[in-house]
Symmetry: C2
Subunit: 458 residues, 2 copies
């Protein structure tokens, strides 16, 4: 991987690291390729906000290469570059959460999750574009950049971690951190054709993350293979050795779904094919009596109320530092009376119970989202997050992985949800053993991304 | 440890396992000592419900000893015996959750957590007594056994995992599994002077656990040292290697507490001493505006409602298989109207938010419970679980560890709560590096426990 052009099967982080160990490649070579790729593709994708100065990145990569040569890598992923969603603190980099009001704020220290990766030798390269304040799915951020879907530039990448998913999908970084409160890691991962993992609550530290709704906020991982997630998860947890993952998992039940106004036909068909090929399929689960739309609305209400609380000072002092849309959403959240909030929490309590019940001795397999990536500037279906909300509000792990592509259509993601990360990863690995391909967006497919100006720092 | 008498400093599981590795002791010797200890102390403590047949236990221990001799132990804890709360399935053993109606039910397969321990070579010895259906704190179970506090036979051991805490406290087993929905691992651990750990939601699989309230139910660990918890946790998670634990943790803030009607003076004093000796103490946290009693009542309401749901069939078909007290509690839970349930879920939502906010970049140190172990047959202070409920309903990890004993009074536990298990364990290890002593109850301190009949199986 010495050059960035003409490669259709880009290695994942595990394969790159195996190359570091065997000496067939080294962190500096990989860093050079990533920098070249970012330089070439970023104007088309709009995934990055701030790039660490290349001279620093190359020096860090060189140091990792020296450790590998000396036989003293800090971890199995020493020297692997990664990107970080702009709401997660990276020391010395802007930390604005996609909010104009915080444009000039710099993180004074790493979030613990970033510090854990850094201690293991991984190299933060860039902050990645996101939907304003993590509250939305287009990742069309008027104050920073408009992220395109690398597989379909006329479609949205999803969000709120749209830059993270798009950066990984286009091979700019092998790994990226995102955050997921109602689906913000899994949704863009599904729409951009990469793997997106939301851990159990508490599994990855969330300090240094700009909150949306604290009890729902998770740090998640975007990668191009399930094995990369399994490899980086223990590091993010703060463990110093890589445990051997188990391959066992409970039986896999799929959601009973019919194509309808609210679920696209190719999505239903994709699920059907995956179920047919699954080794440990169980009886399907009928969730038609759970009003997923109501659960999603309840989750959103709580997030909007909590965001109003968290951003209160900045909203009062610098209202012009937020979009009108964001101000409208949180004003609505803040204005809801106790009765409505109580009804919402009861609804979430109910959904949490139903999901825990369903996951007692099985895993659930379903689509990550009912829809193909919506076209830009067209209305976003309100049901886009219907399947990602329940695992988030229940705090249970869930992973989205790319299903077999259908007729060059946009990517479709499937979601495995379970009570336990080990089981979720084992099942996803059995359903998706391949490395997701990288997208090769071309200028012909999209007008240049005018608003995307990548700043270099340090 | 070839005999069970006259030993004041019993080794913890880590030390026993170190002895297996060095050859100074072996699993069979340890198993013999445990069996002798159970035989001698069980009539005084009442911790066990069903004991695996000694011949099977000794054979399993001998097999582990052979693996150690061959240099092929299954894990660092191969051959360590453990006990299991009676609501967690152990293949072939009764699985009744302390409910008379389920007295004759046998588990057809191991709960995943038990299977993980067994795969690592640990040996399940016995099912342990518990408060009926995990809904209560006395562990005085009229249908099975009355567990005494091994340090103070006239006091309750706490619950609902009273048998688990008492078995570990009296050195019958070095490790035990319990369950914790509102404090059921931490509370009896505090009152019995052992370490009790409730992981993050999803960290340890909960299949094979008789539910109380699914979204709140956690499997937890009782041990005699923090390092034992750190050693067994990755095994319970399903990892095959033991990761090197980190010693880093965020600063430790303590709860501002004053001795009052609701907090016993020795508890406040114990916290003060611990804070004075802590290395990374932060500014205290004032939670006086959080109505902990209301949060506890809301958590209880939801548990009682959920228990009514889960036990509905059995309650209808075999009402005589439940105590009048249990029937009264769940009938109350089931009878609450939507308005009251909504208010309760909103209250829990609020507490969850407040705790997540408090844990953003620090850990909390406080007492595990405001009270010394209550005397048997005296009224139980309703506030006993006030400090254990918030981490349970928020799904964040929390550990109780024994503080320095005060004038031979009953044990006092302190609780560290955090967003992340690694941090919680690191902080607890820095505050409590010792192995908890074992209690040596004597017949003079208590009348023999008439109801405790340990059945032997297999």
């Amino acid at each position: 991987m010495a050059t960035d052009r003409g490669i259709t099967q880009y290695p994942d982080a595990s394969e790159l690291a195996a190359g570091f160990a065997s000496g067939t490649t080294d962190p500096r070579t990989v860093m050079e390729a990533m920098l070249a790729r970012i330089k070439r593709l970023e104007p088309l994708v709009g995934a990055c906000n701030d790039l660490v100065a290349p001279v620093s990145l190359l020096a860090a990569a060189e140091a990792a290469a020296a450790r590998w040569r000396a036989g003293t890598p800090r971890s199995p992923l020493d020297g692997i570059p990664f990107g970080v969603k702009a709401n997660i603190a990276v020391e010395g980099l802007p930390w604005h959460a996609g909010v104009a009001a915080f444009r000039d704020r710099t993180a004074s220290k790493d979030a613990t999750c970033v510090a854990h990766l850094r201690a293991a030798g991984l190299i933060p390269m860039a902050t990645l574009n996101m939907h304003e304040a993590a509250l939305g799915v287009t990742s069309d951020n008027q104050a920073f950049a408009t992220t395109r879907n690398p597989w379909a530039p006329q479609r949205i990448p999803g969000g709120s971690s749209g830059g993270s998913a798009a950066a990984v999908a286009s091979g700019m970084v092998p790994l990226a951190l995102g955050t997921d409160s109602l689906g913000s890691v899994r949704l863009p991962s599904a729409l951009c054709g990469v793997v997106g993992f939301k851990p159990a609550r508490g599994e990855i530290p969330t300090d240094g993350v700009v909150p949306l709704s604290l009890p729902f906020d998770h740090v998640g991982i975007h990668a191009r293979s399930v094995r990369d997630v399994a490899c980086v998860l223990p590091i993010l947890r703060g463990e110093r050795e890589r445990p051997t993952p188990s391959h066992d998992h409970p039986p896999l039940a799929h959601w009973l779904l019919r194509a309808s106004r609210t679920v696209d036909a190719p999505v239903v068909e994709t699920l059907r094919e995956a179920v047919a090929s699954a080794e440990r399929a169980a009886a399907p689960v009928d969730w038609s009596d759970v009003d997923l739309a109501a659960v999603r609305r309840a989750g959103l209400l709580i997030c909007e109320r909590d965001a109003a609380r968290h951003f209160a000072t900045a909203l009062r002092e610098r209202p012009e530092g937020f979009s009108a849309e964001f101000r409208r959403l949180v004003a609505w959240g803040a204005a809801q009376g106790p009765a409505r909030v109580r009804a919402a929490t009861a609804r979430l309590d109910q959904a949490r119970y139903a999901l825990c019940e369903a996951l007692r001795d099985r895993l659930l397999l379903g689509p990550t989202t009912p829809h193909l990536a919506p076209r830009r500037h067209s209305p976003i279906p309100t049901s886009l997050a219907d399947f990602t909300v329940p695992p988030a509000i229940a705090g249970v792990p869930a992973i989205s992985f790319p299903a077999q592509r259908r007729n060059d259509g946009p990517p479709i993601g499937l979601q495995v949800t379970g009570a336990h990360s080990g089981h979720v990863l084992a099942a996803a690995a059995s359903l998706c053993s391949e490395i997701a391909p990288v997208a090769e967006p071309s200028a012909s497919g999209a007008s240049p991304n005018q608003r995307s100006e990548v700043r270099e720092t340090r």
